[in-house]
């Protein structure tokens, strides 16, 4: 149920089913979400500000404090430690404008079809000077798995179908934040490499996190056993370390943006300077300085 002209990439009902299945045992697999949640919380602590009304999207973010005068709840969580207070579609936010002081989203936005649309709605749901702080998976995520599966599928079936999601690129995010109407936008990234005993434990983890393939264009046929075995062999061969363990790359993108407010720093209007640049530079060799 989204706008007619938007491009559907992900199957939202399937994403929800994956999350519900993952919820049963999520604590065993939540380490990546916990780690990134900690990094988001560190960023939040650096901002010396109280955020009374909060919406946390995704897993492992702050638990709701049930105080009557503040709103502080989690949406769409599979994490039992942070139970959901509401469920909704990230592309169809059910909130009045100017409802929140803070919206955080931890590794939840990579399944959104219309990311610009979702971000515009979050910008509107924020109060003036409210903060949007989010993490999401970036383009280098699972690059080893993507390449191994692609090559294995080509070798064993003669064709390739998408099995790992396309992810956003950090270079796109600054512009995306600006287009969504956020002030003072910042985007950056870091990389977390997880080492697994073998590629099978990586696949088990992805399932446990509720993060298996939900692409609409995914092949409806299950992965053939020979394809899987070849992919695992390629993964070991190309990326395996001397001790037999294999790395899996997770690129994490971070975004910060503020709902515009008069108190925020802005560039001055051109021509509004009261001091000449020459004065600022100490009049080194400028001869045409005004008297």
């Amino acid at each position: 149920m989204s706008a007619e002209n938007s491009i559907e990439i992900f199957d939202h009902q399937l994403v929800r089913r994956h999350r519900q299945r993952a919820a049963i045992n999520f604590n065993k697999f939540s380490f990546l979400f916990d780690e990134v949640a900690d990094r988001l919380k560190e960023r939040l602590e650096e901002i010396n500000r109280r955020f009374p009304d909060q919406l946390c999207l995704g897993n492992s973010m702050r638990a709701p404090e049930n105080k009557a005068d503040i709103l502080n709840f989690t949406g769409n969580s599979t994490d039992k430690n942070y139970p959901a207070g509401i469920e909704f579609d990230e592309e169809l936010l059910p909130f009045k404008p100017a409802s929140f002081d803070l919206i955080t989203s931890n590794l939840a936005l990579h399944w959104v079809n219309d990311l610009p649309g979702a971000m515009i709605q979050m910008q509107r749901a924020l109060k003036p000077d409210g903060l949007f702080l989010a993490s999401m998976f970036g383009g280098d995520t699972l690059t080893e798995l993507r390449h191994s599966l692609m090559q294995a599928e080509e070798e064993t079936t003669g064709g390739v179908s998408p099995r790992v999601s396309p992810f956003a690129d950090v270079r796109d995010l600054g512009g995306l934040l600006q287009r969504a109407g956020f002030a003072l936008p910042v985007a950056d990234s870091d990389t977390i490499t997880v080492h697994y005993a073998d590629p099978f434990s990586l696949l088990a983890d992805l399932r446990g996190m509720g993060e298996t393939n939900a692409l609409l264009s995914r092949s409806r046929k299950p992965l053939r056993r020979d394809t899987l075995m070849r992919a695992v062999a390629l993964y070991r061969e190309k990326y395996g370390r001397a001790d037999g363990r294999v790395p899996a790359t997770f690129q994490i993108l971070y975004m910060t943006g503020w709902h515009p407010h008069d108190s925020q720093q802005k560039p001055l209007k051109p021509g509004s300077a009261t001091t000449s640049l020459a004065d600022a530079l100490g009049n080194l060799s400028f001869n045409n300085k005004a008297p």
Partner: protein, 63 residues
């Protein structure tokens, strides 16, 4: 058990709108539903948790 008798958070109800029309919702405590008259949809509230998903909502007959 009466698991659906739990009321959603009062402050949450104040800021909720219909995700499709962005119009106000009416809370029906007996049916445990949030009703969007503009969209003709009733969103369920389960264990006090509003489920604001169109494919989980019940279509309401036109009045």
């Amino acid at each position: 058990m009466g698991e659906n008798s739990q009321k959603p958070d009062r402050k949450l109800l104040e800021i909720l709108v219909c995700p499709v029309t962005k119009k106000p919702l009416r809370y029906d405590a007996d049916a445990s539903e949030l009703i969007s008259e503009a969209a003709g949809l009733a969103y369920p509230v389960r264990d006090g948790i509003p489920i604001m998903l169109v494919d989980e909502a019940r279509e309401t007959p036109e009045e």
